[in-house]
């Protein structure tokens, strides 16, 4: 099934009477689900293989995402439409769309070192810029030497010392 169908499916669940809380619930379930399917190939193969029945797959999904009704209904519908494989392969697109609906911003932060004070300070600054509805992941990359690199959805901000020196070098 194409991503257009996934898009149609996304529009269908967001235009229905699904509440924001339920969507948030579905979103967090999807994040957990995609984390597992990305890291565990055996589970991914099991869930995308047609020889296993939907009930067995739902049982596995329940173990991954918990027994929230809204999430399980979502996955049941996905299995009924047989688009789980497409959902997994286009998970970035799907999550991005859901984040947009939920007004949530995903930020990947890269710093040379991290401690709680620095993390809190950065979080405060990020909230000041993009609001409080953030999904922030901190990554430590000693190669950047100092400063910060941000990936805000599709946009990159390079404020690292390495990046500045490379920029200067390119000039």
């Amino acid at each position: 099934m194409s991503s257009a169908t996934i898009n149609d499916f996304l529009q269908a669940i967001t235009s229905s009477d699904t509440s924001k809380d339920e969507l948030k619930n579905i979103y967090s379930s999807l994040v957990d689900f995609f984390n597992i399917t990305s890291s565990n190939k055996e589970i991914k193969v099991f869930l995308t293989n047609d020889i296993y029945d939907s009930d067995s797959k739902l049982s596995i999904i329940k173990d991954i995402v918990g027994d929230s009704d809204s999430s399980m209904n979502f996955f049941k519908t996905v299995l009924d439409f047989e688009i789980l494989d497409d959902l997994i392969s286009s998970h970035d697109f799907f999550l991005k769309k859901l984040r947009k609906i939920l007004d949530r911003v995903k930020i990947e932060v890269f710093v040379s070192s991290i401690d709680d004070d620095k993390k809190n300070s950065i979080m405060n600054e990020l909230s000041d810029i993009w609001g409080s509805n953030l999904e922030v992941n901190f990554n430590v990359d000693p190669d950047i030497i100092g400063g910060i690199v941000l990936q805000v959805e599709d946009k990159f901000y390079d404020g690292s010392i390495k990046g500045k020196i490379e920029k200067f070098n390119n000039i």
């Binding site: 710093v111 040379s112 070192s113 401690d115 004070d117 620095k118 300070s121 950065i122 600054e125 990020l126 000041d128 810029i129 993009w130 030497i145 100092g146 400063g147 910060i148 941000l150 901000y157 404020g159 010392i161 390495k162 020196i165 490379e166 200067f168 070098n169």
Partner: protein, 171 residues
């Protein structure tokens, strides 16, 4: 007396033989005059014919010689003309080849100078790049060693201020 008789006898003998000789000569003259005359006339005619035919042959040979001489002379002239013409063409070609070679040499010289100039510039740029990269590497190592956590936080805060301004101006 006896001797006189002997002399008369001898004269008689001699006159008889002389008479016989005249008779013999007369007979010979009578019988051989015509064939000998005819033979010599015929021989004279043959010789005359041979002389005439030899004259004709000489004349025709002379004519052939003259024709051949004329042709040889004509061929000599043509050969001279062809030689002159080929010398002229050869000279022109040599001049043309020399001109072309000179042009090519000038072109190659100009291109070579240009290539040397560009290669020199390229090598200079490469050397500059290498020096700059080395300087950047040293600077990064220096910064890595000397950068304190407080300075790092300050750099991050300053950059996030810039990002904030950027986001606000874009919105």
């Amino acid at each position: 007396m006896a001797e006189e008789i002997n002399l008369v006898g001898q004269l008689k003998f001699a006159s008889q033989h002389l008479f016989n000789l005249f008779v013999f000569v007369g007979i010979l003259y009578y019988f051989l005059k015509r064939p000998v005359t005819s033979f010599f006339q015929s021989r004279s005619l043959n010789i005359e014919n041979s002389i005439n035919s030899a004259k004709d042959i000489i004349e025709s040979a002379q004519k052939l010689y003259d024709d051949s001489s004329s042709k040889v002379s004509q061929i000599d002239n043509e050969v001279t003309q062809i030689r002159d013409s080929s010398n002229k063409i050869c000279d022109n070609k040599v001049a043309e080849i020399n001109d072309n070679a000179s042009s090519m040499v000038a072109l190659i010289e100009r291109d070579t100078k240009e290539i040397i100039k560009l290669e020199t510039k390229k090598i200079n740029n490469q050397i500059e790049d290498q020096i700059l990269n080395k300087a950047v590497e040293l600077a990064l190592n220096d910064i890595k060693v000397s950068l304190t956590p407080q300075e790092d936080v300050k750099i991050i805060k300053n950059y996030l201020e810039e990002v904030k301004k950027d986001v606000i101006s874009n919105n």
